[in-house]
Symmetry: C2
Subunit: 192 residues, 2 copies
DNA sequence: GAAAAACGTGGTCATTTGACCATAATCAGC
DNA sequence: GCTGATTATGGTCAAATGACCACGTTTTTC
């Protein structure tokens, strides 16, 4: 049904084939073109999103029109605007495709049913939440303590596969530094 | 038994007096002097912490000896090093008292038992986790997008009561700006 | 495959920021 | 209440950073 997703579950959980099909059967697939939005600021995030292929980003736009990227979600990861999803309030962020992307979507009600029907899915879900918490903390610490160059190096270490798929300005936006600073760093690193 | 804590639960949950006493009975109280550490980097965080009175901070020290503050936890809030607590691995952060502080501590096993025995406590716990997630996101966004002055103003708005209890250098450390920048901002704001 | 859009880099310059130091005021602890 | 430690502020200066602009290259898109 959704082969990439089933492969992901097979590799990352102890779910039975039956459960996998059950979960999979509640999902709706969607294809996004480059730059297409999956969630627009002001709308409520009503779905859990699994990225089967491609790359999404979550970002917000400030008063000066500058984008600030909160998250990248590549294939085999999940994303959503938690607060909007939980509280059913308008999102303050946008979610868009960095490159052509295929996602699976579950409506909140369906997913909640699955969570109570399938304990192993619940466990996976908790794991993902935990990992996000740990990483957010780490990211905050890096943001507070590292120099721009250290942030960039950390990014490369952590997301080596994203490096070539993202325009530099998005990396800069994710790291909270200007693109000028980033090209300067790259320039200096080439010298060595 | 622990009047501040019981007051907190009475005001913030629907727990029955019996449950409240039950939860309270598993807690151990501890008094911290100013600057005393509750958790030291390298040790495992084995307890959930409720602050009955006073103010804790969670911070890490970087290679240059600079402190970076991840969290302030004033009275009637909870804290812990999540990753260390969950995985039972050494913490990379310190937790110390900013001012004389009284805390309640629950050992992990005891707290887990309480969570399964008392559904309403579980609900509270989930709420607290959710709020932390929402706030972390917001903080990251502010950190990425705001000017130092905006960060400071945001801090005042969000934690008006902490302003007078914290040395400026800790606010600067929390905001990720130098104390020099902070005094400059304050100087400018006085002029107006 | 051609036109248009997006991208990475570099130059210049003004501004912001931080490091270091000194000083006066305030606070903590006995 | 006194003493020593901590704190907030300000000066100076160097370095880092960002805004703006231009240009050549690469990538999209139709």
């Amino acid at each position: 049904m959704h082969p990439e997703f089933e492969k992901y579950l097979k590799e990352n959980t102890n779910l039975t084939p039956d459960d996998i099909h059950h979960i999979s059967s509640k999902a709706v697939g969607k294809t996004l073109r480059r730059n297409e939005l999956l969630l627009q600021s002001g709308n409520v995030c009503k779905q859990k999103v699994f990225i089967a292929k491609g790359l999404l980003r979550t970002y917000s736009i400030d008063a000066n029109g500058n984008e600030h990227i909160l998250q990248f979600a590549p294939e085999h990861s999940w994303t959503l605007d938690v607060e909007s999803y939980d509280k059913e309030i308008p999102a303050e962020t946008n979610m868009g495709a960095v490159e052509p992307t295929e996602v699976l979507l579950w409506h909140k009600d369906d997913f909640n049913n699955l969570l109570s029907e399938v304990p192993e899915l619940n466990k996976l879900s908790q794991q993902i939440i935990s990992r996000n918490i740990y990483y957010s903390r780490q990211r905050m610490l890096t943001t507070l303590s590292a120099t721009p160059e250290e942030k960039y190096d950390d990014f490369i270490q952590r997301f080596p596969k994203l490096l070539t798929r993202l325009p530099l300005r998005m990396i800069a936006s994710y790291l909270g530094i200007s693109i000028k600073t980033l090209t300067r760093i790259r320039h200096n690193q080439l010298q060595r």
